[in-house]
């Protein structure tokens, strides 16, 4: 059974990046081995639920959230390693997006505590967490339709002087910062193949372009950890390819990436660690090539290829 699954995944992988050896090679290639030291530790972590990580950026304990009688999220312990790509997978209704909402302050947990970047999160409010560097995107893209593409990205820039009412009327006080921000925003637009749409209203972009725009905007916010909710959904294969490339690129640059995804080729292709959620609970975590062979994951999420073929 595992033998039947792997070849397909390997094919998908080779389209973007080779997984285990490939990523390390690519990283040492771009970053002259500096990131290699950061990558190694995650490979030594045992694939056990709640396993402690060497450099956790996010530590979650006893997090629960119920909607009526339904326990949407029930996580005993979860650590997210800094500087790597972690995928969050699981069947529909497993609580992935709810978990994102809780961690980023968009929803209120019934119980639980978590710390981000070494600091406990006491009263989570989305904007405060964002200012600390926890930046998320949404499953249903939130492009600001009546703002230009450039303005969408500029909005992401942190600590803008011109966003204070006292400074806003006086252009000279914020112009320099704005120009620097524009330069950075243009680089990002360039990177995401959106430069030609710079002055168009974001509402005129295609669904896939909006996904890219949202990622660009999130990156403009100078994140420490970026949380992408189904960044590839509805994006055509070519764009998805380039988005995957960007995500691995982000991790090379030291950013922590957590993303929700259903396409297994994407998950195995770019993630260093996979957390599997089902009915609100973590049912497995580990490196992708181990997790996809886990019986419980196969039962809950991946499904068996042929009846009876597995055992």
């Amino acid at each position: 059974m595992p033998d039947e699954l792997t070849p397909g995944i390997d094919e998908a992988r080779s389209g973007t990046d080779e997984l285990t050896p490939g990523i390390d090679e690519a990283r040492s290639g771009t970053d002259s081995g500096h990131m290699g030291a950061e990558i190694e530790p995650i490979l030594t972590v045992p694939p056990v639920i709640g396993a402690p990580k060497p450099h956790p950026i996010l530590v979650v304990d006893d997090l629960t959230r119920s909607f009526g009688g339904l326990r949407a999220v029930d996580v005993d312990h979860l650590e997210v390693e800094r500087g790597v790509v972690t995928a969050l997978i699981g069947p529909n209704g497993a609580g992935k997006t709810t978990l994102f909402n809780l961690l980023t302050g968009f929803d209120r947990a019934d119980t639980g505590r978590w710390s981000f970047d070494g600091e406990p999160v006491s009263s989570p409010s989305p904007d405060q967490l964002a200012r600390k560097g926890m930046i998320r995107t949404f499953q249903l893209t939130k492009s600001l339709a009546k703002l230009t593409v450039l303005d969408n990205v500029l909005l992401g820039a942190p600590s803008q002087i011109g966003e204070r009412l006292s400074a806003a009327p006086f252009r000279s006080r914020w112009q320099d910062q704005e120009e620097a921000n524009i330069e950075q925003a243009e680089e990002l637009l360039d990177r995401f193949n959106l430069a030609h749409m710079r002055d168009e209203l974001a509402g005129t972009l295609s669904g896939g372009q909006r996904k890219l725009l949202e990622v660009a905007r999130a990156l403009m916010a100078d994140p420490v950890m970026i949380m992408l909710d189904e960044p590839m959904a509805g994006v055509n294969p070519a764009l998805a390819q380039s988005l995957m490339h960007h995500i691995t690129q982000l991790a090379f640059e030291g950013l922590t990436v957590v993303f929700i995804e259903h396409a297994m080729d994407v998950v195995t292709g770019i993630s260093d660690w996979v957390v599997v959620l089902a009915q609100g609970r973590i049912i497995a975590e580990g490196p992708p090539w181990k997790v996809i062979h886990d019986d419980e994951v196969i039962d809950a999420y991946l499904g068996r290829r042929r009846a009876g073929a597995g055992s």
């Binding site: 930046i135 009546k146 303005d151 500029l154 909005l155 009412l165 400074a167 009327p169 916010a221």
Partner: protein
């Protein structure tokens, strides 16, 4: 049928103090609704507090007019804060309901007989606005008239509208300066999707409150001009339709533009007065059948407001962005 008189009346209304007041109300509403997406249905409450703050200070407490104006504006800020704190975290619809209710509550309280000692209650309150008219540079003899033909104002009226339109220009300039900045970009992002703004670290509540206060104070200025123009205040002048007239002006001119609310206010009063004068002249025509003349007689004002409403409906159908708006921007609503 004397079209000179019809056009003269219409032009006088379009550039008179009523248009100034409506323009200020609409500019404030533009900050709330046009740029921030706050559905404020109680803009008239800000005008009321501006007008009564000024009138009560002078008439009841005997303070100077300038202190009264300040009191009027401070009360507008207070209303914005009082409205905003409990409601700005709620859904947009809740905010709309609370604002319309709050404005009505204030009007009814101020107009109640229990408040006679303070606000004059149901009776209108009048005060001496002499401190303002003392500064009038326009000679104001009984025969002094400014304008051409039937489009003319007295010296006192000239002074009110000069100050009024300068104020409109200044306020529009300030709104332009703050909205084109990164601060304005945050406002617009809140209008488009406040969760997106939150996810990028913007304190949405604080920005909404700032917008509410700024737009409210601008509305309050309209109230102050109203008080000075009439040297008093009357609770009946602050019924909910004032808010809806301001919305009409805003949508006519184009929401989320800088000149839209001003243009809209001028157009609103021009149309309203033109139609009313026209109907008045028409009902006096000898060839008109008696039943039609009877129907028109005395209903000209009501019909004219109805016609402006019809104009708004047609505008929404054929030019939904208003006179100065951007059509492509508008079409994005059909996402």
């Amino acid at each position: 049928m004397d079209f000179d008189i019809i056009f003269g009346n219409a032009a006088r209304a379009a550039f008179g103090p009523e248009a100034v007041i409506l323009a200020l109300a609409a500019i404030g509403l533009n900050v709330h609704f046009g740029f921030t997406g706050l559905l404020n249905f109680g803009q008239v409450g800000f005008l009321l507090l501006g007008a009564y703050g000024t009138s009560v200070s002078v008439a009841t407490f005997g303070w100077s007019l300038w202190v009264g104006i300040l009191v009027g504006l401070v009360l507008s800020v207070a209303l914005a804060v009082a409205l905003g704190f409990p409601t700005l975290r709620l859904h947009a619809v809740m905010f709309a309901i609370v604002t319309i209710a709050a404005a009505e509550i204030i009007r009814i309280l101020i107009g109640s007989t229990d408040a006679i000692g303070l606000t004059g209650g149901p009776l209108s309150l009048s005060f001496d606005a002499g401190a303002f008219y003392d500064l009038n540079p326009y000679p104001d003899g009984p025969h002094d008239r400014y304008g051409v033909g039937t489009f003319e104002f007295t010296g006192q009226q000239m002074w009110v509208i000069t100050v009024g339109w300068v104020l409109v220009a200044l306020v529009s300039l300030v709104v332009f300066l703050i909205v084109r900045s990164p601060w304005g970009r945050v406002l617009k992002s809140i209008r488009e999707d406040e969760d997106a703004a939150r996810s990028l670290g913007k304190n949405v509540f604080s920005y909404k409150m700032q917008a509410l206060i700024i737009g409210g104070v601008i509305g309050g200025m309209g109230g102050v001009i109203d008080a000075i123009k009439t040297s008093g205040a009357d609770p009946n002048g602050f019924r909910p339709q004032v808010t809806f007239f301001a919305y009409t002006a805003l949508l006519l001119g184009g929401a989320a533009t800088y000149v839209g609310p001003v243009l809209g206010a001028i157009l609103f009063w021009f149309l309203r007065e033109w139609i009313e004068s026209f109907l008045r002249q028409l009902s006096a025509e000898a060839w008109l059948p008696g039943t039609v003349a009877d129907f028109l007689d005395g209903s000209e004002g009501v019909i004219s407001v109805g016609m402006v409403g019809l104009a708004l409906v047609l505008l929404m159908l054929f030019r939904p962005q208003g006179l100065t708006g951007n059509r492509t921007e508008m079409q994005l609503d059909a996402r």
